[in-house]
Structure formats: structure tokens, C-alpha cells
């Protein structure tokens, strides 16, 4: 007799490919259906309802921000805001990655550097970054620098600590082996261990990007002339839920695209990384 294998229920379930796709799509469809149903009910009561805009209203909002130029500035708002925000985000996360990576790497391997910075870094990492935003705005100005600094200060301790932990996991055997193969101390750090930690940096950046977006939008909401966060908080004054929804979806898609891109980058640049980890 053939053993019955459950499609969905239990530890041993084996959903076939079609079901996997269906399962992944289902929550989206359910959520959309509930939303549209609720929007329809509200619009029957009041056709001017702003809280739950219908698909037609959202489509009009897309046209307004992403296709038609802004009547005042002549720019297309969504692109202008995206460019401004991404510049801050990429700049901040890049600088934080470089600082965090080299700090974590050296802390993981050099007892002196570890002794000097581990306690301090752990302390710094526990400062809530948004709490020092006023200090950053006062010190670095409300222009670009203040926002980029918030992203850097908010994410570099996370990156440094994660890279430090990953570097500490490198077996002593690997370091000793490299020394017996004639590597210098510099060579051990930057030619043997660093290449083994690099893929982890990309994984870490994937994780801290969520926090980076938070800091970006928060700082743009408070003081800015452009940017995705600025726009959302600007149109909030007019209860323009349609534009907010378009912007939130756009930000989500950008973040999701980054995540997929970085994941593919790891498997493309470091084919040994995920395969070797499974042992």
C-alpha cells in the first residue's frame, strides 16, 4: 500500500510545486480582498472617503506622483524623492559597512583591538539612535549630513558586532594553518580571514537595511525638503491616504528588491558560502 503523504498538514507535509506557489500567493489575495471589500463599504456610505481609497483612486495617485510632472517644480515627484532617499540610504549604509566590517574583523582577530573596543562598542550599540537625532541635527545640520550620520551611527554597531561574532567563529586552526603556510599577520587578517567573512557582510547588510530605512524615513519626516519619508509625512496633513499607500508600496518593493539582489550577489560571488555552511 502506498503511504499517504500530507500536502499541507504536519511535520512531514510535502506540498507540490503548484501548491507552494498557491500558498505563497494566498495571503496577498486574502489581504487585498478584505481591503477592497472594506473600501467598497466605506465608499457606499461616503463617496469622498479618504481613509481607504479604492483601486481607481490609487491608480490616479500613481499617475499624479509617478507620471505627471509636479505643477510647481516640473519634476516627477516619486523619482525625485526616490533619488534623494536612495542617495542618503546607500551613502549611509556603505560607510557604516566599511567601518563596521573592518572594526569587527580586527576585533575578532586581534586581542588588543578587542580589549580596546568591545565594551565601548557594546555601550554605543545600546544608544537608541533616534534619541540622539536632535544632537545629530544640531551638530551636523538638518541637511544631508545629519541624515546620513543617523544611518551610519544606527547601523555600524550592528554590522561591527555581527562581523566580530562571525570572525570569532573562525577556528584557531585556520589561523595557525595560514601561519604555517608563511602568511604574515597582515596576510592572516586580510588575505585568509577577510575573504571568508565578506559574504557574511552582505548578509548582515541585508539584515540592517530594515533599520536603515527606519532611520532614513524618520530623519526625512522631521526635517527635509525631499525624500520618500518627507513626502509621506507631508501629504499626511491632507489625509492623502492614496499617495501614502503608493509610497509605502514603492518603498517596500525597493527594500524587497535590494534584499533579493544582495542574496543573489552572495550566491553569485561566493558559491562556496551557503553550500559549505550546510555541513
Amino acid at each position: 500500500m502506498k503511504m499517504r503523504i500530507s500536502l499541507f498538514k504536519g511535520l512531514h507535509a510535502e506540498p507540490p510545486p503548484w501548491l507552494r506557489v498557491a500558498l505563497a500567493v494566498l495571503p496577498f489575495i486574502l489581504f487585498l480582498a478584505i481591503y477592497l471589500f472594506a473600501a467598497e463599504i466605506r465608499h457606499q456610505e461616503n463617496p469622498q472617503d479618504k481613509l481607504l481609497p479604492t483601486l481607481t483612486k490609487i491608480a490616479l495617485a500613481v499617475e499624479k506622483v509617478a507620471i505627471d510632472p509636479d505643477p510647481r517644480s516640473g519634476n516627477i515627484l516619486l523619482w525625485q524623492d526616490t533619488a534623494a532617499s536612495l542617495k542618503r540610504l546607500v551613502l549611509g549604509v556603505s560607510i557604516a559597512s566599511i567601518i563596521g566590517f573592518f572594526l569587527g574583523l580586527n576585533m575578532g582577530l586581534l586581542p588588543g583591538i578587542r580589549g580596546l573596543s568591545l565594551t565601548f562598542l557594546t555601550f554605543i550599540a545600546n544608544i537608541p539612535p533616534l534619541a540622539i537625532l536632535p544632537i545629530l541635527f544640531i551638530t551636523f545640520g538638518v541637511d544631508q549630513l545629519g541624515k546620513v550620520m543617523l544611518i551610519i551611527l544606527g547601523t555600524f554597531p550592528l554590522i561591527a558586532r555581527d562581523i566580530y561574532l562571525e570572525t570569532s567563529k573562525i577556528p584557531t586552526n585556520v589561523v595557525v594553518k595560514a601561519l604555517t603556510l608563511g602568511a604574515s599577520q597582515f596576510g592572516v587578517i586580510y588575505r585568509v580571514v577577510m575573504p571568508q567573512i565578506l559574504p557574511r557582510l552582505i548578509d548582515t547588510v541585508r539584515l540592517v537595511l530594515g533599520a536603515a530605512w527606519l532611520f532614513l524615513i524618520a530623519s526625512e519626516a522631521i526635517a527635509s525638503q525631499d525624500g520618500l519619508g518627507y513626502r509621506i509625512f507631508l501629504v499626511r496633513r491632507y489625509l492623502s491616504m492614496d499617495i501614502i499607500i503608493v509610497y509605502v508600496l514603492w518603498i517596500t518593493m525597493l527594500a524587497y528588491a535590494f534584499d533579493i539582489f544582495l542574496r543573489l550577489l552572495v550566491s553569485w560571488l561566493f558559491p562556496w558560502y551557503s553550500a559549505g555552511k550546510k555541513d
Binding site: V176, T180, L181, W272, Y273, G276
Partner: protein
């Protein structure tokens, strides 16, 4: 009963290694000639791997003298190669690059590309000598355990170390692969003429491979300390072994089996404790600097 340090590749006198209050090795006296194939056995936890790490320079002795070629030990360096049971290979490099690593890492970074061709050719020779040429482009995780250890041996060999240290290198391999590897390492030892220190928990392997076997054990009666007080391990037996037979058939002979039984009795049985002055140190290079009163 001192020996002259100059005649020996490795010379240890009264070497003790302790971690805090826990003494692992105590009063180790050992002199080993160049080109010896020295196997090290002992019960688990006796400190045989510790002895290896001391020779390597990965750890420092707590007291005593330890000389290599008459000079004090320093940090790990290319004159002493190492093959571990695990984590010997760099996971981010291909097999060929792993073997090239020694040639490349000992060069400054700016010479990496100008020396690449010669390093690659030389690495291929070593890769062929361990019969893995067709796997050059693969990564370590794609190879079986036995193949990975062969790569690790080739990786160490390319530096022409005077001493090759091996810490249970075949411990994780299945019996068939193990025997193939044993013959391979004997071949390599013969061909390249280096000193090998080979730590294993497998007595049969130790007796089969070595020209000299050191039994390290914590099961003995100390001259001065009472039995209930803990003491570090010592060399409790030291034999010269027959010249290597290049056939695994010697493993079936009676003498082979008897020697294993003797060593198991002398070193591995917690119930059997010899007095320190009764140790079976028959090897001609063996010496003891201090033995308490009878």
C-alpha cells in the same frame, strides 16, 4: 642521562604544560632525530594533541626547555607544517588555490599575480601526487573527507616543512580510505624525507606507520605525589618500531598484535598503574632527567 640537544631535531627537557591549576603534561623528556616517523598515542585527554600544539608553537610550554634544531620555539612558521583532523582547508578557495596558498601567502601581496603561474604549476604537481588532479577547480565542501585530507597533506607539503605534524588526520575516515591514506603518507614520508609527528588514538595505525612510538598516559604512579592527587601525563613507553613495511599485511602478524596488547596494557588501562621508574623506555634516544627514589 642527558642527551646533547644538537644531535636532535626536537629536544624537550622537563617540559610541563598546565592550564591554570590543571597540569596536562608533566616532565616530558624527549629527543627525536630528523626523519623519524614518530607516532604519538595515549588515552583520550592525555594531552597528546597538546604536545603536538606545543611543537607547532600554537601553544606555549609552562616550564622546561623545548628546542627545534637547537633553537627555542617560536610562533607557527613554514618549517613546521600541520594537518588537522578538521578545518585544515580554506573553504573559500578551490582545491588548487588551497594548495597554492602556501606559495602565495609567503609572497607579498603585490607579487600575487606575477607568481601565480609558477605557483599554479607547482601546486598541480602536488595535486597529482595525491591523485586529485581532476578535482582542481572544486571547493573543499564538494570533496569527501578522505579527499579533503589528501588536499590538506598536499597543502602542507608544498612548503617543504622539515617537520610535518598530523593531529588525528585520518580519525574521521572510514577503514578502507584510512588504509589507503596510511600507505600514501608512508610514500610521501619516504619521498620528501621529513620528520613526522603523528597523533592518533588508533594503536594499530600508530604501530603500523611509525618508526618510533611514544605512549603518553596519565595512568601511572607519581614518585612524589600521592595517588589521590592529580598529575600530568608523561611518556610511559617509548619503542623503536620495525622499518616500515609497505604492505598492510603486517597488521595480521603475531608480533604486531602483541606489541599493541603491551602498549594497551602499559598506557591505556586506568586499573594498571606503573611506577614512574618502571616505564618501558627502550628506545635508544629515550632519556629521563629525574626519577624519584625507589
Amino acid at each position: 642521562m642527558h642527551k646533547s640537544p644538537d644531535e636532535y631535531l626536537l629536544y624537550c627537557e622537563d617540559v610541563t604544560k598546565a592550564y591554570g591549576s590543571k597540569v596536562v603534561l608533566e616532565d616530558i623528556d624527549l629527543a627525536v632525530k630528523h626523519k623519524e616517523f614518530c607516532t604519538v598515542v595515549g588515552p583520550s585527554g592525555c594531552g597528546k594533541s597538546t604536545l603536538l600544539r606545543l611543537i607547532l608553537g600554537q601553544e606555549r610550554i609552562s616550564s622546561g626547555t623545548m628546542l627545534i634544531d637547537g633553537a627555542a620555539l617560536h610562533q607557527p612558521s613554514p618549517d613546521r607544517g600541520i594537518v588537522y583532523q578538521k578545518y585544515s582547508l580554506f573553504p573559500h578557495l578551490t582545491i588548487l588555490e588551497n594548495i597554492m596558498a602556501g606559495k602565495q601567502l609567503s609572497q607579498p601581496l603585490w607579487k600575487k599575480f606575477s607568481t601565480r603561474k609558477t605557483a599554479r604549476d607547482e601546486a598541480m604537481v602536488y595535486l597529482e601526487s595525491v591523485q586529485l588532479a581532476e578535482h582542481a577547480a572544486k571547493y573543499p565542501h564538494q570533496l569527501s573527507g578522505g579527499m579533503q585530507q589528501r588536499v590538506a597533506i598536499a597543502q602542507a607539503l608544498i612548503m617543504h616543512p622539515r617537520v610535518l605534524l598530523m593531529d588525528e588526520p585520518f580519525g574521521a575516515l572510514d577503514p578502507g580510505t584510512r588504509e589507503t591514506m596510511q600507505l600514501l603518507i608512508l610514500e610521501i614520508w619516504e619521498k620528501y624525507g621529513m620528520t613526522i609527528f603523528f597523533v592518533t588514538h588508533d594503536l594499530e595505525e600508530a604501530v603500523f606507520l611509525g618508526t618510533r612510538i611514544l605512549v603518553i598516559s596519565q595512568f601511572y604512579i607519581h614518585e612524589t605525589k600521592p595517588p589521590e592527587e592529580s598529575h600530568g601525563s608523561r611518556i610511559v613507553a617509548d619503542y623503536k618500531l620495525n622499518d616500515n613495511a609497505y604492505s598492510t599485511r603486517v597488521k595480521q602478524t603475531a608480533a604486531f598484535g602483541e606489541l599493541i596488547q603491551t602498549i594497551r596494557y602499559e598506557g591505556f588501562n586506568p586499573e594498571v598503574k606503573q611506577n614512574a621508574h618502571d616505564f618501558n623506555l627502550t628506545h635508544s634516544d629515550s632519556f629521563v632527567t629525574y626519577v624519584g627514589e625507589k
